[in-house]
C-alpha cells in the first residue's frame, strides 16, 4: 500500500473522531442551556450532523435512542420540504410533526444548514422534549393528534438570522409553560450554531471542501462493520410475541426477525391494530427503538449513523399500532415504542442467548401533573410538570438487572428536590420496592415505591401513562417474572394505568413501578447473593424462602 493512502486512512479516522466530538459539543450546549426540566435534568434530547443528502454522519452519545434514530429520518423530510439549494445562511427550520419529526408534538426538531464560504456544507439537527405544548396535555387521552396540542408544520423559524416573531408568539400562547417553551427553542437554535462553528473550523483545518468523501467513508465502513457482525449469526427467521396493557384493551406485539445477507429485517405482521387513543406509534419511532434493540444486541461498538442504521430494516402493517398514520393520537407513543427492544430480544433469545436480558419495566414511569399554581404576585396560573422515574431492568445472562434504571430510554430521573422547587408537589416516599425483582440465577432489577401529593392542598390532575400493570416483565431461560406495576391512592382506590385522573386534595398518589424479569432458574442463585438481598431488604425473608428455598435466619 502506498504511503499516501496510509496517511489518508489515518486522516479520515481523525476527521470521523472530530465529527463525533463536534456533535457531542452540540448536545452538551443543548443540555446546559435547556429550560424544560425533562431536558435539562433528564437529557431528553438528541443532536447530530448530516451531509447535504440528509444522511446522518454522527450523533451525540448524550441523548435518547427514540429521538436519535427518528431524527435521522427527519432531516430527509426537511430537505424535501426545503431544498438545500434554496437555503440561506442563518436560516433555521422547525417542526413538531409526529410523522416528520420524532413521534409526538412535544418534540421540537430544529434543522440548521451550515455554511462555509457562502456554500452549504452540511446540516445540523437537534431535538428536545418540551414539557407542555398545550392541548389535552402529555397523556394518552386524545383521540386524534389535533387534540394533543399545537401542531407546527415544516416551517422556517429564522430567515437569514431573523427569528420569526409571529411563530414565536403562537408558540408562547399555546403552552402552559411559555417561558420554558420559548427558552428551549432558543436553546435548540444555539446548539446547532455551536455545532456549525466547530464543523467549519474542522473543514478549514483539513482543507475539506465538502463532506462527500468523508461521509461515504463513515457510512460505508459503519454499514460494513454491522454486516460483519450479522454475518456471524445463523441465518433464519425468529418469532416472538409479547402482550401489553394498552389503553382500553390488551395489545399484542408480534415480530418476525429475519437474519439475511443484507442485514436484519424485523417485521411486525400480526401486531394489534391501532388504538383509538394516544398510545399509537408512528413508524419512525417504531424503527428507532427496534434498531436500537438490534444495535445493543448485535453491534454495540459501532457508532450510530446512516450506515449502521441501514443494516436494519423495520416494517409494520399500516394502521397497526406500530405504524399509525395521521391523524392518529400519538402523544404517549413511548409506552409501546420503548417495549420494542424486549420484543426484539425475545426473537434473538434463540440466536444469541447469552447477550439478551430478560424483559424489564422498559417504559418510563413518568409522573405528569397539571394543576393550578400560585406563582406569587398575582401570577396565578397553570402548571404542568413531568418527573421521570423508572422500574427495574431485566436480568442479564451473567448479572442481575439494574434497580430503578431506565432502559431502553436514555433519560435520567428527575431529582426530587428539583421537582419540589419547580412545582407545588411534595414527595413522601421514593425508594426501592421489596420483592419486585423477578427471581432467577440472576435476579431482575427492583422497581420503586413512590408517594407524592399536592404541596398546597389543591386538587391535581395526574396524566397517567403507565405500562406493565396487567402484563409484567417475563423472565428468561427459566427465570421468574418481575412484579407488575400499580397505581393507586393511599386511601386504597385503584387508579387506571392510562388517562387523566384527579388526585383530590389531601390524597396521596402511590406508584409501584414494575420489577425486571429474572434470568435462569432461581435455585441456581448463589446462597450468599440471596442472603445479601435479604439483609438489604430487597428480598423479604418470606419471598426468599418461597423463591429461592432460603433457610437462613428463622
Amino acid at each position: 500500500m502506498a504511503s499516501r493512502d496510509g496517511l489518508d486512512v489515518i486522516t479520515r479516522q481523525v476527521m470521523w473522531n472530530r465529527l463525533i466530538s463536534v456533535v457531542e459539543e452540540q448536545a452538551q450546549t443543548l443540555l446546559r442551556t435547556a429550560f424544560s426540566p425533562i431536558v435539562r435534568e433528564c437529557g431528553d434530547l438528541s443532536a447530530g450532523v448530516f451531509d447535504l443528502r440528509g444522511r446522518m454522519l454522527a450523533q451525540a452519545v448524550t441523548g435518547t435512542p427514540g429521538h436519535v434514530n427518528s431524527m435521522a429520518e427527519s432531516v430527509q423530510h426537511f430537505i424535501r420540504h426545503f431544498p438545500v439549494a434554496e437555503m440561506n445562511e442563518g436560516d433555521i427550520y422547525i417542526t413538531n410533526d409526529p410523522w416528520l419529526g420524532t413521534g409526538h408534538l412535544n418534540d421540537f426538531v430544529l434543522t440548521t444548514p451550515c455554511f462555509r464560504r457562502g456554500k452549504p456544507v452540511g446540516l445540523f439537527s437537534c431535538t428536545s422534549h418540551l414539557t407542555d405544548i398545550g392541548g389535552i396535555g402529555v397523556g394518552p387521552d386524545a383521540t386524534d393528534v389535533h387534540m394533543e396540542g399545537l401542531y407546527i408544520p415544516m416551517l422556517k423559524l429564522a430567515d437569514r438570522g431573523r427569528i420569526d416573531a409571529t411563530l414565536m408568539a403562537f408558540v408562547r400562547r399555546n403552552t402552559r409553560e411559555p417561558v420554558e417553551c420559548e427558552g428551549d427553542v432558543y436553546s435548540l437554535a444555539a446548539c446547532n450554531e455551536v455545532g456549525c462553528v466547530r464543523l467549519v473550523e474542522m473543514m478549514d483545518e483539513f482543507g475539506l471542501e465538502d463532506l462527500d468523501e468523508l461521509g461515504e467513508y463513515i457510512v460505508s465502513s459503519s454499514r460494513r462493520a454491522v454486516l460483519a457482525e450479522v454475518a456471524e449469526l445463523p441465518k433464519g427467521k425468529y418469532r416472538n410475541a409479547m402482550a401489553l396493557d394498552g389503553y382500553d384493551r390488551p395489545i399484542d406485539l408480534v415480530a418476525t426477525l429475519e437474519i439475511g445477507d443484507e442485514g436484519v429485517h424485523v417485521d411486525y405482521d400480526g401486531t394489534s391494530p391501532m388504538s383509538r387513543y394516544g398510545v399509537n406509534v408512528p413508524m419512525a419511532y417504531t424503527t428507532a427503538y427496534t434498531s436500537f434493540g438490534l444495535g445493543c444486541a448485535i453491534a454495540p461498538g459501532v457508532p450510530n449513523n446512516a450506515g449502521s442504521l441501514s443494516a436494519f430494516r423495520v416494517t409494520a402493517p399500516e394502521r397497526s399500532i406500530l405504524n399509525a398514520p395521521y391523524p392518529a393520537a400519538v402523544c404517549a407513543r413511548h409506552l409501546i415504542g420503548q417495549q420494542l427492544p424486549d420484543v426484539v430480544f425475545g426473537c434473538l433469545e434463540k440466536v444469541v442467548p447469552e447477550r439478551v436480558p430478560a424483559e424489564g419495566a422498559s417504559s418510563l414511569w413518568n409522573i405528569t401533573f397539571r394543576g393550578e399554581a400560585d406563582r406569587g404576585s398575582n401570577e396565578r396560573s397553570l402548571f404542568a410538570f413531568t418527573a421521570v422515574t423508572n422500574g427495574g431492568t431485566g436480568a442479564r445472562g451473567v448479572k442481575d438487572g439494574l434497580n430503578g434504571t431506565a432502559y431502553p430510554s436514555g433519560v435520567k430521573g428527575t431529582p426530587v428536590e428539583i421537582v419540589e422547587t419547580m412545582a407545588p408537589v411534595l414527595f413522601r416516599r421514593k425508594e426501592l420496592r421489596s420483592d419486585s425483582a423477578g427471581p432467577g440465577t440472576w435476579r431482575g432489577g427492583a422497581g420503586q415505591v413512590i408517594e407524592v401529593e399536592s404541596a398546597d392542598g389543591r386538587d391535581m390532575e395526574l396524566l397517567a401513562a403507565y405500562e406493565r400493570i396487567d402484563h409484567p416483565a417475563r423472565g428468561r431461560a427459566g427465570g421468574g417474572g418481575g412484579e407488575a406495576g400499580a397505581v393507586f391512592l393511599a386511601s386504597g382506590t385503584r387508579l387506571k394505568g392510562k388517562g387523566t385522573q384527579t388526585i383530590p386534595a389531601g390524597e396521596t398518589l402511590v406508584l409501584h413501578t414494575p420489577g425486571g424479569g429474572g434470568h435462569g432458574p432461581s435455585r441456581n442463585r448463589p446462597p450468599e447473593a440471596v442472603a445479601a438481598d435479604v439483609e438489604d431488604g430487597i428480598v423479604s425473608e418470606a419471598a426468599a424462602r418461597r423463591d429461592y428455598g432460603w433457610k437462613g435466619a428463622a
Binding site: 460483519a228 430521573g413 420503586q448 430487597i538
Partner: protein, 694 residues
C-alpha cells in the same frame, strides 16, 4: 515577609506508588522520591523528609512550613477501604444514594455495572422529619427515632455517619439536631452533615458527597494525627497545611472535618506549577498539558487563574466515562483528564479504526519496548518506533529499551490488520492519541468560552514534551514551554499554592427582585466562615476575596458562574449582575434570550492569601546555534519517509541557544520532539521555549 516564609518550605505529594518530597530554601530546590508506604503513609513521608533535609544539609527546625497533598482519600474510595459508614436520611428516601440518576452511562452496552453506593442498603437508616424547598419545617424531627438508632449503629460497629435530609441546604436544623443527639449518645462516632459539606440543592450529589466524606474521615483524621505527631517527634514543629482539589491550601482542622475536599489534590498541584511558570514567563493565556503514564490532564489558565468548577466524579466504573462514577460537589480546578498516556494501549477496533487507551500497560509490564514481558503496543512504543526516544540513557539508564520489541508489537497490534508497516502504524497511533488529546482540549475550550489557538502550552509529565508540538499544530497554537525538572511537578506546585477556602451556599433570588440585604447577610456569614479557616493558616499574609453568583435564566437548569464585583450589594447591583451575566452567556452560548428574567441560585465566596506572583523573567536573547550531540534516524510524519535529525542533550544547552526542528532534545526524564514547524530556544530560566517558525 512572615516568619514562616523566611525558613525553608517543604512540599509533599503522597501518591499511590511514590511519595515526592521537595524542599525549597532560598532559591535552592532539593527533591526526593520514595516508595509510598500504604499501610502507614506517614512513615514514607518521614523517610523522605529526612532524606531531603540531609541532602540540603538542614535541620528539622529549619522547616518553616509543610505543604501536603495526598491521594489517600481517593484511593480509600477506589479500593473501598474506608470506615464502616452508615447513612441517615429522611423517612421514605432510603435509596437515593443507590438509585442515583436512574440511568445507564453507556447507551448501547447491555452489561454495564453501576457504581456501588458508598453505604450499602443495610446500613442506610431513615427517621421521620421533613423540610420543604423553602426551608419550612413540615414535619418536626422525631427525636425518639434518632435516639433509637444509637444501639443499632453500635451493634453494626459503625465508625462514621453521614446525615442527609431533604432540603437541609435551605434549613439544616434537623441535621444539626441529629448530630447533637448522636454526639451525646455515641461520643466516639464521627458525624458528617450533608448541609455542611455541600449546602446545595440536588439530593443525590449532596448525599453522595456527604457519604464519601464520612467514609474517608476516620482514616484521614487518624493519618493526619499520626503525621502531626511524627513531625513533632523528629523536630518539625511548624504548621502543616493540606492541598485541596480546588487548588488552595487548608488547615489540618478543616481537612479533618472535610477530607472529601482533599481528593484529586495531585493534579491541582500540577496546575499550580503551570501557573507559576506562566507568571515567570509573563503568559496570560496558558494551556497546562500534563501527560504521564496513564492519563493526560489539560487545564486552561487565564490571567494566572485556572477556572473553578464544583463537580467531580470519583471511582468511575468505565474509565473516563462521564456518569459512571460517584458525583462529588466540591470545589475543584476545572480540567479534563483522559486515558491518554505513554502506557496507553493501541489496537484496531471492529471498524478497522485505530483506538488508543484508556486501558494502560501501567508500570508493569509497561510498554513492549521495556522488555519486561509487555506485548501490547503502547503510545511509548509508537514513539520509540518513530525514533523520538533515544534508547541511550533512557530513564537515567535504569531501563534498557528494546526498539525491536516495540516495532514488533506495533506491527502486530495495529499494522497487520490495516496493512501498514510499523512506521506508518506508529504514526497512526501517535496521530490518534494526539487527536484525542486535542479534541479534549477543544471541547474544554468551548465549554469555558476560550480560544484554543491563543494559548501557550506548558508541557510537563514524562510524555508531554514528545507530543506537545503535534497538539499545538492541531490547535493552531504557536508557543510551547517545556519547564525544567517537571518530574515532581505536583509537589513543586504545592509550594506555589495560596491558602484558600471556598464556601458555596444556595439562596435563590430573581434579579428583578434582588434582596441586597439578604445577600449581604449571607455573604458576611460566608466571609466569616472562610476567613476563620484561612487566617489560621495564613500567618498574617494579606487576604483577598473572590465572589461569584451562580446564575441562569429563570427556568433553566444549569448555572454559569458570574463574578460579583461589589463587596456589599447596593440597589444598582441587579443591573450590573444582569450585564455581567449577559456577557458570560453570550461568550459561552452565542445568543442571549431577549427579555427573559435571570435568577441567582447560589453564591460563592473564596478567601485566599495573595501570593506575590513572580515577575516575568527577562526573555533573554537568542545567541548561539549549538552543535548537535549526534544524529538520529526518525520517521518523518509529514513526508511519511525516513529522515535524519540532530539530537541535543538538554544539559549541554546554554541560555540563548536556538535550534530549528525537526530535532530531538533529550534529558533523563523525557525528550522534547521539535517538529519541523517549530524552533526551540533555551530561555534563561532553563525552560525550553518552542515557537512556530514562520
Amino acid at each position: 515577609m512572615s516568619e514562616a516564609e523566611t525558613r525553608c518550605r517543604v512540599g509533599i505529594d503522597v501518591g499511590g506508588t511514590f511519595t515526592d518530597i521537595v524542599l525549597e530554601a532560598g532559591g535552592d530546590r532539593t527533591s526526593a522520591k520514595v516508595l509510598t508506604t500504604s499501610q502507614a503513609p506517614e512513615r514514607g513521608v518521614i523517610d523522605g523528609l529526612r532524606e531531603v533535609l540531609q541532602k540540603a544539609v538542614l535541620a528539622p527546625g529549619d522547616v518553616g512550613l509543610v505543604l501536603h497533598g495526598t491521594t489517600l482519600a481517593t484511593n480509600a474510595v477506589l479500593e473501598r477501604r474506608g470506615a464502616r459508614t452508615a447513612f441517615i436520611t429522611t423517612e421514605g428516601f432510603r435509596d437515593i444514594l443507590e438509585v442515583g440518576y436512574e440511568t445507564r452511562y453507556d447507551q448501547y452496552d447491555l452489561m454495564i455495572e453501576k457504581v456501588a453506593p458508598i453505604v450499602p442498603r443495610r446500613l442506610r437508616f431513615t427517621v421521620p422529619e421533613r423540610v420543604d424547598a423553602r426551608g419550612r419545617v413540615l414535619e418536626a424531627l422525631d427525636e425518639e427515632a434518632v435516639h433509637a438508632l444509637a444501639p443499632a449503629l453500635s451493634a453494626a460497629e459503625i465508625e462514621s455517619v453521614a446525615v442527609g435530609f431533604f432540603h437541609a441546604y435551605a434549613n439544616p436544623v434537623h441535621e444539626r439536631r441529629v448530630e447533637a443527639i448522636l454526639h451525646d449518645a455515641l461520643p466516639e462516632l464521627s458525624v458528617t452533615l450533608a448541609s455542611e459539606v455541600c449546602p446545595e440543592v440536588r439530593e443525590y450529589e449532596r448525599f453522595t458527597t456527604a457519604s464519601v466524606n464520612a467514609y474517608v474521615r476516620p482514616l484521614m483524621e487518624g493519618y493526619l494525627a499520626r503525621l502531626d505527631g511524627m513531625l513533632a517527634e523528629i523536630g518539625i514543629g511548624c504548621p502543616l497545611l493540606l492541598m485541596t482539589s480546588g487548588g488552595g491550601l487548608t488547615t489540618v482542622e478543616t481537612a479533618r472535618r472535610q477530607p472529601v475536599r482533599l481528593v484529586e489534590s495531585g493534579p491541582a498541584g500540577g496546575v499550580l506549577l503551570a501557573r507559576d511558570i506562566a507568571a515567570r514567563a509573563g503568559l496570560d493565556k496558558v494551556m497546562s498539558f500534563d501527560m504521564g503514564g496513564t492519563t493526560a490532564k489539560i487545564c486552561f489558565i487565564e490571567n494566572l487563574e485556572p477556572r473553578r468548577a464544583r463537580e467531580f466524579e470519583i471511582d468511575r466504573q468505565a474509565r473516563f466515562m462521564k456518569g459512571s462514577g460517584l458525583p462529588l460537589r466540591i470545589p475543584v480546578i476545572e480540567m479534563v483528564e483522559i486515558g491518554a498516556g505513554g502506557g496507553s494501549i493501541a489496537r484496531v477496533d471492529r471498524l478497522g479504526r485505530i483506538a488508543v487507551g484508556p486501558e494502560s500497560a501501567g508500570a508493569e509490564p509497561g510498554p513492549a519496548g521495556y522488555g519486561r514481558g509487555g506485548t501490547d503496543a503502547t503510545v511509548t512504543d509508537a514513539d520509540i518506533v518513530l525514533g523520538r526516544i533515544d534508547p541511550a540513557g533512557f530513564a537515567g539508564g535504569r531501563i534498557e529499551l528494546r526498539p525491536e520489541l516495540s516495532a514488533e508489537a506495533v506491527g502486530r497490534s495495529v499494522g497487520a490488520s490495516l496493512e501498514l508497516g510499523p512506521s506508518q502504524a506508529a504514526q497512526g497511533i501517535v496521530e490518534i492519541v494526539d487527536e484525542n488529546m486535542s479534541n479534549a482540549a477543544r471541547v474544554l475550550a468551548v465549554e469555558e468560552g476560550k480560544v484554543a489557538s491563543e494559548q501557550t502550552v506548558i508541557a510537563f509529565g514524562g510524555a508531554a514534551p514528545l507530543h506537545a508540538c503535534r497538539i499545538a499544530e492541531k490547535l493552531g497554537i504557536d508557543r510551547i514551554v517545556v519547564p525544567v525538572d517537571a518530574g515532581v511537578g505536583s509537589a513543586v506546585g504545592f509550594l506555589r499554592a495560596p491558602v484558600a477556602y471556598e464556601v458555596v451556599r444556595s439562596l435563590n433570588m430573581r434579579l428583578s427582585a434582588l434582596d441586597a440585604g439578604a445577600v449581604n447577610d449571607l455573604m458576611a456569614d460566608m466571609r466569616r466562615e472562610a476567613r476563620t479557616v484561612v487566617e489560621s493558616g495564613a500567618f498574617g499574609a494579606p487576604l483577598a476575596e473572590r465572589r461569584v453568583a451562580y446564575m441562569r435564566y429563570l427556568g433553566q437548569g444549569h448555572e454559569i458562574a458570574v463574578p460579583v464585583d461589589s463587596e456589599r450589594l447596593g440597589p444598582d447591583d441587579g443591573r450590573a449582575l444582569q450585564a455581567a451575566y449577559d456577557r458570560e452567556y453570550e461568550l459561552l452560548f452565542k445568543r442571549t434570550i431577549p427579555d427573559a428574567d435571570v435568577e441567582v441560585l447560589s453564591w460563592g465566596l473564596t478567601v485566599s492569601t495573595v501570593e506575590a506572583m513572580p515577575a516575568a523573567d527577562d526573555p533573554g536573547r537568542t545567541t548561539g546555534s549549538p552543535e548537535p550531540a549526534g544524529w538520529r534516524d526518525i520517521h518523518d510524519t509529514e513526508s511519511g519517509a525516513a529522515a535524519q535529525v540532530p539530537l541535543y542533550r538538554r544539559a549541554d544547552l546554554a541560555a540563548g541557544d536556538r535550534l530549528d526542528g525537526p530535532a530531538l532534545i533529550v534529558e533523563e526524564q523525557t525528550s522534547t520532539f521539535v517538529s519541523r514547524n517549530f524552533r526551540a530556544v533555551l530561555a534563561p530560566a532553563g525552560n525550553i521555549v518552542l515557537e512556530r517558525r514562520v
